[in-house]
Symmetry: C2
Subunit: 218 residues, 2 copies
């Protein structure tokens, strides 16, 4: 698989975000001993058009066989390989408050290839401690630790008012990708990879839709 | 503010997801003693077009004054009020494994109006324990506890293979909104509110973009 060109394809973000859904579903099928799945079956199960699924998978050069569909085992392998979940990516947690320490404790991240190897904070009561074996350092040590551990990814979970400062420090210290969990829209030069995961923004959508439902039921 | 009709507006999801960014930014300005901000200023800071911001805010009947902009204090109040972050929404955590217990420990959710009042699991080693004061019950007790506590929201963080079963149970027990943290695309009738927050899917995007960066630098 390493020799294929698929790993070099730059996919549209919506496709990239759907691929893990396909992987989760076909892994389930694999666990049940299913050998082949069609895009129509996947479509029915996960609420995405069959044609969209076929198109997404064709980006990875994965094509189903007529009337048989996709071979489950190789589909799982190719998706997992492409998504990089099987490869260790070292990361720093920037901000070890409530959300930051919760994320360090989530073993799920490791299953998806993210290994948080150290935390950083400015709070002296937290610095020097360790969470599930992950040491917490002062932000002043970020540059030294980045060189020592050769880490590329920073997970940002600081209070909003420190988000941009922390971002600037992370970039100055050599981090190349920032996974931003704050609701603040951080700015960085275009060569820095930024993923925004403002989990709280999803709450706003949920509350609004619940309000709508209540009105409809009145 | 309660008499205004804005709370009844059903906004497009992209708008709803941007509003918390505006709120985070104008709260910062408020903390700095700033009295007015223009959409152009907000735009520059958070990378959204000024016209989009003006349009988003006009959905809420918030309009800036010519050449002065938006009054920061009332903008903060109206956004916070509309988003519902100041109102307590009770929720159950379904699945108290690694991610589930991490989310229970994240005090940030409470700041955004989500109060996780109980956890549920099928693992006998977890049932009966409590996490930060939040009791963990057996899934068998979900219906009884839903009636007792009048909870509408279920936060789903079970292993993929149990995601659909747990969803069906949640709905049968009277929950009306599901915040799905699993990478599985759960199915429910259209009157159930579903928000998917597959944080691991964001990792796929980040890894892919980092790969791209590595190739460009070679």
């Amino acid at each position: 698989m390493g020799e294929k060109s698929v790993a070099k394809v730059i996919l549209p973000e919506p496709t990239l975000r759907r691929l893990p859904w396909y992987l989760a579903y076909v892994r389930l099928q694999q666990a049940h001993g299913v050998e082949y799945v069609s895009s129509t079956q996947i479509a029915k199960e996960i609420n995405v058009d069959a044609s969209q699924i076929a198109k997404d998978l064709s980006f990875l050069n994965i094509r189903g066989k007529t009337r048989i569909g996709y071979e489950v085992e190789s589909l799982v392998a190719e998706l997992a390989d492409f998504l990089g979940f099987g490869v260790e990516h070292k990361a720093f947690m920037i901000g070890v408050g409530s959300l930051g320490s919760a994320l360090i404790q989530d073993q799920g991240l490791l299953q998806y290839g993210l290994n948080i190897v150290a935390g950083f904070d400015i709070d002296p009561t937290v610095i020097g401690r360790s969470i599930r074996g992950v040491p917490v350092y002062s932000m002043d040590e970020l540059g030294v630790k980045q060189k020592e551990l050769d880490t590329e990814i920073g997970v940002l979970a600081v209070p909003v008012e420190f988000a941009q400062d922390a971002t600037d420090t992370m970039i100055a210290c050599g981090l190349q990708a920032i996974w931003n969990f704050t609701p603040f829209r951080i700015k960085a030069s275009s060569d820095i990879v930024i993923q925004n995961t403002s989990i709280y923004a999803h709450l706003a959508v949920m509350y609004n839709r619940l309000d709508e439902r209540h009105r409809l039921l009145k």
